[in-house]
């Protein structure tokens, strides 16, 4: 067997992925250093780091970084805690477990735009929405979610989508939990809480780490939910980094500034990625 064929088979994937990685990155770096507005084609003067300075001193920058991190942190906290609880709840057999599991995973397959509008209108509308009716039923005043708690609303939508994902991973992982060990612990008089703390939780350590890191990657660039519901507002209250970059690029047409911001987002994502890649690399073969 010659050595050329394996390489030839690999070439298309390697070459296309290499281009997909390097071309946009190189272009982004170049754009971030020049004055480039989509409305004024032709003139690209070298600016040095001015675009970076502009992006970082934008009054929306600080809040958007903060929003990105609180969105990330809240959704991860909600999905991991509730995900573990749910996975434990449906782990042991009970009537209808199969159906329950299928139902549980469904929200994850709802496209983000449909998810966002379902929540924005039918759930969170302050007059006709289901939540408003529930609030009234319990004697509370209805809440105008998207106006008064825009970031919380987005967090709820995104968490609703990712909770099933976390739950599914934990369910899968719980199936490989050593049952004999569990029984032995029970025989030795361990109570359920001790069993959870000393056996289940350590077993779930790795899947939890994986869920945290994968969600980091996807949630750093939450976009569709914000685009379709709050539009980043009111003001900048629900603008995250991804949405701010989008605004600079496709609403202000300032490619230079948007590119500087994009590099910032790439940097943030890479911090998360380094950890994930190490973790997965350890598990390879």
């Amino acid at each position: 067997m010659n050595r050329l064929l394996p390489r030839a088979l690999m070439a298309p994937a390697v070459v296309t992925l290499f281009l997909w990685m390097i071309v946009p990155l190189a272009m982004t770096i170049y754009f971030s250093l020049v004055r480039y507005n989509l409305m004024q084609p032709g003139e690209k003067t070298f600016l040095g780091l001015a675009n970076y300075e502009y992006f970082v001193t934008d009054p929306d920058f600080g809040p958007s970084v903060l929003n990105t991190l609180s969105l990330l942190g809240s959704v991860i906290a909600i999905t991991v805690v509730l995900g573990v609880a749910l996975a434990l709840l449906v782990n042991e057999p009970f009537p209808g477990r199969g159906i329950v599991r299928v139902l549980l995973i469904s929200p994850f397959f709802v496209m983000p735009t449909a998810n966002a509008l379902l929540w924005k209108h039918m759930m969170m509308n302050p007059i006709y929405g289901v939540l408003a009716q529930v609030w009234i039923f319990f004697g509370a005043g209805p809440v105008d979610w998207l106006t008064n708690h825009p970031l919380l609303s987005v967090i709820l939508m995104v968490a609703w989508q990712w909770l099933p994902f976390a739950c599914l991973i934990f369910i899968t992982s719980l199936q490989s939990l050593d049952r004999d060990q569990m029984e032995a612990a029970g025989m030795d008089g361990a109570n359920p809480l001790q069993k959870f703390w000393f056996l289940t939780l350590p077993h779930l350590g790795r899947p939890i780490a994986v869920v945290v890191m994968i969600e980091m990657i996807f949630l750093l660039s939450v976009f569709a939910e914000i685009f379709t519901t709050t539009g980043g507002g009111p003001g900048n209250e629900s603008t995250n980094l991804a949405f701010l970059i989008f605004k600079q690029a496709l609403m202000n047409f300032d490619v230079g500034v948007a590119s500087a911001g994009a590099l910032f987002a790439v940097l943030l994502a890479n911090i998360a990625a380094v950890f994930l890649i190490r973790l997965i690399g350890k598990n390879l073969d």
Partner: protein
């Protein structure tokens, strides 16, 4: 005591589940209401179902056009991705070298790039090439962004095929093409199918690129639904009907590909 515990667990599990999927159940119900019933106060749980909204959506919003865009972009990108990824995964699984591991990790790392980091250059390239709002641009982007996951899933699937079988085929003088079609393909059909299924789901639901690169002409269903944001969003029954038609096929596909989903999205780190 045991029975009581089971009863409590069953009731709790069902209650929590129904609460969690309630928004989806509500979406399905609203899709079969009239616009007046949809915004009734208090909300109506029982009503005479109507298909009016589905008819309206099909008539007014060019639903079929966008559905076709979704079908074409997700299927073509999946097939294209399989065509590129399968040979690579095959090569890595059966002709391992010292560098195989590094290549796999590098491919994985390209998936870690946030999409927004590539938004500007991809947009500018598409604009320069005159491909804004074209299915071609979406297909290319979908294929590329799913490629790392495809290679990984196929690689882990191919790796489980015992190499002895290949040895035997080679001894019998099978060519590499014969090896692939006669030996690998039958064994790898499952892996190919599940990889394809997962990528179909991912491409169908993709919203970031669809929203930024397409509109009326090439817009997928994800983009069509987004256009209900306002002011058409005021018509909840139609919004629900359109959403239901957009998500129903893929939710069903998703149910069947749960296992692959876990493996694909975690890159095999959770088993």
């Amino acid at each position: 005591m045991k029975h009581l515990a089971l009863l409590v667990r069953t009731v709790a599990a069902w209650l929590v589940t129904l609460l969690l999927v309630f928004p989806l159940i509500w979406l399905v119900l609203t899709a079969f209401k009239t616009e007046l019933q949809a915004i009734a106060v208090p909300p109506q749980l029982f009503f005479t179902p109507t298909l009016e909204s589905f008819r309206e959506v099909n008539l007014r919003s060019d639903y079929l056009h966008h559905a076709a865009n979704s079908v074409i972009t997700s299927f073509v990108s999946t097939l294209l991705g399989l065509a590129i990824a399968a040979p690579a995964a095959y090569s890595m699984a059966f002709f391992r070298t010292r560098r195989t591991r590094d290549i796999l990790m590098w491919m994985l790392s390209t998936k870690m790039m946030p999409a927004v980091g590539a938004l500007v250059p991809v947009y500018v390239m598409a604009q320069t090439a005159g491909l804004l709002d074209s299915r071609t641009a979406l297909i290319v982007v979908f294929t590329l962004s799913n490629l790392p996951i495809m290679v990984w899933m196929l690689y882990s699937g191919f790796k489980d095929i015992p190499p002895d079988i290949l040895e035997a085929a080679r001894m019998d003088g099978a060519s590499i093409w014969g090896e692939f079609t006669q030996v690998i393909r039958p064994l790898a059909m499952g892996t190919l199918a599940s990889t394809g299924l997962l990528c179909l789901v991912l491409a169908w639901n993709e919203a970031f690129w669809s929203l930024n690169l397409s509109s009326a002409k090439a817009g997928t269903l994800a983009a069509l639904i987004a256009s209900y944001s306002s002011p058409e969003g005021l018509f909840w029954a139609k919004l629900s009907a359109a959403s239901l038609m957009a998500i129903a096929p893929i939710v069903v596909v998703g149910w069947f590909s749960q296992k692959q989903l876990v493996q694909g999205l975690t890159f095999g780190a959770v088993k």
